[in-house]
């Protein structure tokens, strides 16, 4: 299904699907097949309306329905949620998930949170070159996280920093002044340990107030940026390649 579904404005929804059915030379029983598709993508209620009068969300779903005619094994979707409101996006996503039980779905999108929510396997292509092809969890793991915690505090920053300097478990930290007397710190632990509890203790001891504390987990977005922006940064790419090689070897072992 293309980004803008190719629909004939002057046709009714059912008419259009029947046309696609005829065009694809589908072998299934016509009305039953079309009714089934329309109930799957929930366009029963608009089946006798002209496509020109439908909203963007409905048009997208009619495009979906057209792609489903003939029950193909593989469905390719190009930006299926572009231009939809949040409710419609959720509906389309749940639809994609529902369809993924019976079809292989290839989804292309710029909205990475969407991919994170829907997809199992991710392929990142940068300037025509495949730079990653992996499951989402594995992809985030590849870019090793160092357990950096971001903390925003209010109060006696100098005292807080002094304790941080002395602490063994803190490897390094950076500070950023925010408005009033608050500061934001990015604190990296020295070992492979969680540092949040210690930071809390330090804050209590130095009598500063924690306004916000969260660990910097790596999202698909950051993975994407790291992989594409540093395309010259061959280290990351080579790291991935090495890992891929390993995997291939593992596979061939099996």
């Amino acid at each position: 299904m293309p980004e803008i579904p190719p629909l004939y404005n002057e046709m009714k929804v059912k008419e259009y699907l029947a046309f696609v059915y005829d065009l694809k030379k589908v072998k299934y029983q016509k009305s039953a097949h079309l009714d089934e598709i329309m109930s799957v993508v929930k366009i029963d209620d608009v089946k006798n309306r002209l496509i020109r009068n439908l909203s963007k969300g409905y048009r997208q779903r009619v495009g979906f329905a057209a792609a489903l005619v003939g029950n193909p094994d593989v469905i390719i979707l190009d930006e299926p949620t572009v231009g939809l409101d949040p409710k419609q996006i959720i509906e389309i996503r749940s639809l994609i998930e529902k369809l993924s039980h019976n079809h292989t779905i290839i989804l292309s999108s710029h909205i990475l949170s969407e991919i994170q929510a829907v997809c199992e396997n991710v392929i990142i292509i940068n300037k025509g070159k495949l730079i990653a092809n992996d499951r989402i969890e594995d992809l985030s793991k590849r870019i090793a996280t160092d357990g950096t915690v971001s903390v925003t505090i209010k109060g006696d920053c100098a005292g807080f920093e002094k304790v941080l300097d002395d602490s063994d478990s803190v490897k390094s930290y950076t500070a950023k002044n925010k408005k009033d007397d608050t500061k934001e710190y990015a604190i990296t632990p020295s070992g492979d340990v969680s540092i949040s509890e210690e930071i809390f203790d330090i804050a209590v001891n130095t009598n500063v107030k924690i306004l916000d504390m969260h660990s910097k987990s790596i999202s698909l977005e950051q993975v994407f940026l790291m992989l594409t922006e540093n395309a010259d940064n061959t280290e990351a790419i080579e790291m991935l390649k090495d890992k891929e090689k390993e995997e291939k070897e593992n596979e061939s072992d099996i």
Binding site: P6, Y8, E10, M11
Partner: protein, 233 residues
């Protein structure tokens, strides 16, 4: 091909264009029939050939959006990704337009029945004139369709089809400007509206039929090529 034919033929009547086309044709055919009939002449061939000029102006309205609209609205993606061959797409659209044109000429069947009820005469001249009319229509449609497949703009397609059609009507008139016999001959043949006029004389002429068929086939072939081109750009 059948699916495209059905869809295309329906789409003529989803806008007023199809009805207006039929109405204008019906009006002029009836108008000329009344005039000719009032003179007591049973020459229905004259009635049919009377709408040639009108149709060369009207048919571009039918053909201009056949392909240009599809590529503008990107709906050609549905067609090009379907298992239907490109020749099937082109022929489907072509036959849909022909059918609309044939429908517009069908009113003359009533005239012929009226005439036959008064005068005992052969039906063959009528059928021959009808064939000529259909061949002319098919030729104009295939040219218009080819022009439509070259551009994404409906207006450009319409204007260029119209210009082409004006040339094929009036090329004959320019012939007097030249003294070279070959040029005059070519110009008179380019003016295929005047060639079509031969069909209203009851002299069966195979060259005329072949002439029109070759125009139709040539432009259908070019249209297939023009649509196929989209796969490579």
């Amino acid at each position: 091909m059948k699916a495209i034919f059905k869809k295309e033929f329906k789409s003529f009547f989803s806008t007023p264009i199809g009805f207006i086309f039929l109405a204008i044709n019906a009006f002029f055919l009836s108008f000329y029939f009344v005039i000719i009939y009032s003179y007591g002449s049973p020459a229905i061939e004259e009635v049919i050939s009377s709408t040639y000029i009108i149709n060369t102006f009207l048919l571009p309205v039918i053909t201009m959006r056949l392909f240009s609209d599809e590529s503008r609205l990107k709906t050609d993606q549905v067609l090009l990704t379907s298992p239907v061959k490109i020749s099937g797409i082109v022929l489907g659209k072509f036959f849909a337009a022909i059918c609309l044109y044939a429908l517009s000429q069908a009113i003359t069947i009533i005239f012929e029945i009226i005439i036959l009820s008064y005068v005992k005469m052969s039906i063959l001249p009528y059928l021959y004139a009808l064939l000529g009319s259909l061949l002319l229509g098919a030729a104009i449609i295939s040219i218009g369709m080819f022009i439509s497949s070259l551009t994404e703009s409906v207006v450009i397609a319409g204007v260029f089809s119209l210009i082409t059609n004006i040339i094929v009507i009036f090329a004959n008139s320019f012939a007097s400007l030249f003294s070279n016999k070959a040029v005059v001959y070519i110009l008179s043949k380019i003016a295929f509206v005047s060639v079509a006029a031969n069909f209203s004389t009851p002299v069966f002429s195979i060259p005329d039929i072949v002439y029109f068929l070759s125009i139709i086939i040539a432009f259908l072939f070019l249209t297939v090529r023009a649509v196929e081109r989209k796969r490579f750009i």
